[in-house]
């Protein structure tokens, strides 16, 4: 037999106006196991709280029921009162007789009847409530940031700035990401390198940042506050501890490979640094193109290296890191446009994609900043095709957001560098963002030919002499309503930004959900855009959705703050109303393991029963309803408690 106290609130007239409180109190007082039932004008007021605390002691109550406003309003308040009076907070039951009773009817009888029923339900349930204690776990103070693009760099710097240790994991030999490939950035047209390289350098200099380039995340175990991250260090065949970055080896290397950084428009050595300002400045050997690895002889670099840093025997190695939080900033890939045969990329040398153009503009690029085509000619007319794969039901339905702006940037730079005709073929011009619209208007002044319509095809099939030797872009001009053929020397495609090819694997490792394209899902699109369904794992930048640099950087800063809120605490409270498994009743059907979005349940194979990691459990009860033997007990919402409440609600 429990000793229940019921407190019915008038809430001034909010409740008392429609609910006959004294009648309800009398009803409650006569229920079995109810020791005392009281009413008060404002139970949430200080005297009201004192009334409860007093009665808990006076009648030594072991359950209290407060019939007042919604639990979402004052549950916390009354839980505090109970705790203060030495009663476990989970033994408090709130009955919502305001929002869901007195406020939604004018009929006194109806409201009073309902209030009684609701309280009766609470009494049935309260009897079965059990005290719960929140548990605390230690939090590892360090953070892992995955991805060394501008997003990752920014996040790492922010976290390091408050003195927390950060591991910055980058898959390529250098940090910098796509931004390092850009020449200028819209709309301000300031040089990308000039604003990025100082940050890259800052990363290198920062004692709190451990830079792990040429590394990949191999495995992630554990949970918020206690992640175990396994990192694979790909073999560089150069011992960076010894290397003094003289780069003499690069000089001598006979090997030739296509420069990934220059999008294959230029060559690089087999031992190389991706680009002059790369961080770190120390080279790696690319097995595929290295003469020694191919032919078994050469070893020139080894001979030249005074530091004896070259080590052909080097193998992949693994680094184990413990971290309290993880930020995924893995960025994006540019869509491969070859499959879109109608645009002729790969078939016509004069068709380029956006990143290639960026490199052409760049003074440190393959053409030293001159816009010349693969055949060496300078184009006299250029068409820039928007929305290649974006806003396209057959490919990517979404808008990639940055193409309009960089296409305008391209137009501007092409004008500057070629004096040729520049055509913009766009569906809609999207210039939302600080200074973007202005930039657009400015371009309208620069005699760029804007054609509203999505390019249909790019072909070399000519129809008249003046088309000779040119590429013809066919387009429906939706403004004139005419079908146009535009002969040009050069075609620039603005392909969709898409998730990284291996985004799904990363998602699996971090237990993130992805949208239908493969971008990482945020916990809530509006209110938790940087958090994910996995506590302690945050996302920043284009791995969540296409975005420009300013958005990326602000997200990165936000993600840093999110990560810090976790690692800045030494301990962390866990949800108390979690689920647990009654092993004796578990039939090992694995339903819980299959359905849980947090991977809280797991199968203990030799016992043949499932076990729930309460640190991961959020207490939603999904598993409990999936459990055929009701072996899973969702604390505070047990089958017994819920059904008892139903019984009470249905009695009168």
């Amino acid at each position: 037999m429990s000793r229940i106290g019921v407190f019915v609130c008038h809430c001034g007239l909010n409740i008392a106006k429609t609910v006959r409180v004294s009648e309800v109190v009398e009803f409650a007082a006569n229920l079995p196991e109810v020791v005392i039932a009281e009413e008060y004008r404002f139970v949430c007021s200080t005297p009201g709280q004192e009334l409860i605390a007093g009665d808990i002691k006076k009648y030594n109550l072991d359950r209290i029921i407060v019939a007042a406003c919604s639990p979402l309003m004052h549950e916390k308040t009354f839980r505090k009162v109970a705790e203060a009076a030495g009663l476990n907070q989970y033994l408090v039951t709130i009955v919502n007789i305001r929002e869901q009773c007195s406020w939604v009817t004018e009929d006194e009888d109806v409201a009073t009847k309902k209030a009684k029923a609701l309280i009766n339900g609470a009494v049935y349930r309260a009897r079965l409530l059990a005290p719960l204690v929140s548990r605390f776990i230690d939090v590892n103070p360090e953070v892992v940031v995955v991805g060394g693009g501008i997003a990752g760099i920014q996040t790492a710097l922010e976290i390091a700035a408050v003195g927390r240790k950060v591991y910055l994991v980058e898959r390529t030999p250098t940090i910098g990401g796509h931004m390092a490939q850009f020449d200028k950035t819209f709309p301000t047209l300031d040089c990308s390198a000039c604003i990025l390289t100082p940050k890259m350098d800052a990363v290198l200099q920062n004692p709190n940042i451990e830079l792990l380039t040429y590394c990949e995340v191999a495995e992630v175990k554990g949970f918020v506050g206690n992640f175990d991250v396994k990192i694979r260090q790909k073999a560089r065949y150069v011992d960076h501890a010894k290397c003094n970055a003289c780069l003499a080896c690069v000089e001598k290397c006979p090997g030739k490979g296509e420069s990934e950084f220059d999008e294959g428009l230029a060559k690089r050595k087999a031992i190389y640094i991706p680009f002059p300002q790369a961080v770190p400045q120390k080279p790696v050997i690319d097995r595929e193109t290295c003469t020694y690895f191919i032919k078994g002889k050469c070893r020139l670099c080894e001979k030249i290296c005074e530091q004896k840093a070259i080590d052909y025997e080097q193998a992949d190695s693994y680094i184990e890191i413990k971290a309290g939080a993880i930020v995924a900033a893995t960025g994006y890939d540019l869509m491969d446009v070859k499959p879109l045969a109608q645009y002729g990329y790969g078939r016509y040398p004069a068709v380029y994609h956006a990143l290639e153009i960026e490199r052409l503009f760049n003074s440190a690029g393959p053409t030293a900043g001159k816009v010349v085509m693969r055949d060496g000619r300078e184009p006299q007319s250029i068409a820039i095709l928007h929305c290649i794969g974006s806003r396209d039901k057959n490919n990517y339905e979404y808008c990639s957001r940055v193409c309009c702006m960089y296409s305008l940037k391209f137009a501007h730079l092409l004008k500057e560098k070629t004096h040729g005709d520049v055509y913009q073929l766009y569906i809609d011009m999207r210039a939302g963002g600080k200074g973007y619209e202005e930039f657009y208007s400015r371009l309208l002044e620069e005699d760029v030919k804007f054609i509203r319509g999505k390019a249909a095809t790019v072909t070399h099939r000519t129809k008249n002499p003046e088309e000779e030797g040119k590429l013809i872009v066919e387009v429906d001009d939706t403004l004139t309503g005419k079908f146009a053929r535009i002969p040009v020397d050069m075609v620039v495609l603005a392909p969709a930004m898409k998730p990284r090819a291996d985004a799904k694997d990363m998602a699996r490792m971090l237990n993130l959900s992805t949208d239908k394209y493969g971008f990482f899902m945020e916990k809530h699109p509006k209110l938790a855009p940087l958090s994910t369904m996995t506590d302690g794992v945050f996302i920043a930048g284009a791995c969540q959705s296409p975005k420009d640099i300013p958005d990326t950087v602000s997200q990165a800063t936000g993600a840093a703050a999110e990560a810090l809120t976790i690692v800045s605490k030494a301990k962390m409270e866990l949800e108390a109303a979690t689920a647990m498994v009654n092993a004796a009743a578990c039939s090992g059907c694995r339903n819980c393991v299959t359905v849980c979005p947090y991977s809280a349940p797991s199968m203990n194979e030799e016992k043949g029963v499932s076990e729930i990691n309460e640190a991961l459990c959020k207490g939603c009860g999904l598993c409990a309803a999936a459990c055929p033997t009701s072996a899973i007990i969702t604390r505070h919402f047990t089958n017994e408690q819920v059904m008892a409440e139903m019984e009470g609600l249905m009695e009168f």
Partner: protein, 284 residues
């Protein structure tokens, strides 16, 4: 005829928490109706069904002795590990003044005639000491004491905090007409008594089998290791008694649940000598 399925109302007049885990409590019950009290005529070793309407019934050994007038006592352990048993946890929630039901007395008592004139060795472990406590209190009751020979008691628990009836043990300890030996598997700083497992203690107490009967109750593991000790001391199987735990419902040998061999534990037991148990199929 009195309906054996209908519980008699009893009032809880005292609740004692026996162990510091709170998992074992002793309930002192007084009959609401005089005639029921007279009808409830029991001896040590018998049990009763405690009934709480809406929850059910639970068979519990009687922990008090008929020599204690005006009330009966039951020591109840909260059953179930993860999911607490309906009845026992309801019992544990009882407060003084509450009214519950009782059916009984049920089963056979310790064979007192057989014990008369003999030296009695009482061996108990943990919570299973309840009906032994009843037996001891019965035997040391002044009018009864001389009917029995030497009384030695060996009682053990895992930890000092898990010993039941601490005050009573203290009183017994002061008496010179019985030898009390209380032990715990593992003591603590406050603990001054003996340390060691019950079987080991039995070994070095080494009660003499001469005209003696050993009455042993405890967890299976304790029984398992204690019996050999007594065999070595030449106690015959006829002279070793114990009480069986079995799931019971009706308590009057009808429902079949406690059937083992030709016996219905609730009705033909729960008290048996080892000799009798040997005659039963090993199915309990």
């Amino acid at each position: 005829m009195q309906n054996p399925y209908l519980p008699m109302p009893v009032r809880v007049i005292k609740v004692t928490t026996e162990v510091d885990t709170g998992e074992i409590k002793t309930f002192r019950l007084a009959f609401v109706n005089k005639e029921d009290e007279e009808r409830f005529d029991y001896l040590p070793g018998q049990f009763a069904e405690l009934s709480i309407y809406g929850k059910g019934e639970s068979p519990i050994g009687i922990a008090s002795s008929p020599t204690q007038k005006g009330y009966i006592e039951f020591t109840v352990q909260r059953a179930g590990t993860v999911v607490p048993g309906q009845v026992t946890s309801a019992l544990h929630d009882l407060e003084e003044g509450a009214i519950i039901g009782i059916r009984g007395p049920l089963g056979h008592p310790w064979p007192l005639e057989f014990l008369e004139g003999k030296n009695i060795v009482v061996v108990g472990g943990g919570f299973a000491f309840t009906t032994l406590r009843s037996l001891v209190n019965y035997m040391i009751y002044e009018e009864n004491r001389r009917r029995f020979g030497k009384i030695s008691i060996i009682y053990g628990a895992r930890l000092p905090g898990l010993l039941c009836y601490k005050d009573e043990l203290a009183l017994w300890g002061k008496r010179d007409d019985l030898d009390l030996c209380v032990t715990v598997d593992k003591g603590n700083e406050a603990w001054e008594g003996r340390e060691g497992f019950v079987p080991a203690i039995c070994k070095d107490v080494a009660p003499c089998a001469e005209n003696a009967v050993a009455v042993i109750c405890g967890p299976p593991i304790m029984i398992k290791y204690t019996l050999p000790v007594f065999f070595n001391l030449n106690f015959s199987k006829e002279n070793i008694l114990t009480s069986l735990e079995m799931r019971m419902k009706c308590g009057i040998g009808k429902c079949g649940r406690c059937n083992v061999g030709s016996k219905y534990i609730c009705n033909d037991g729960p008290v048996f000598s080892l000799a009798e148990l040997d005659a039963l199929p090993r199915d309990f």
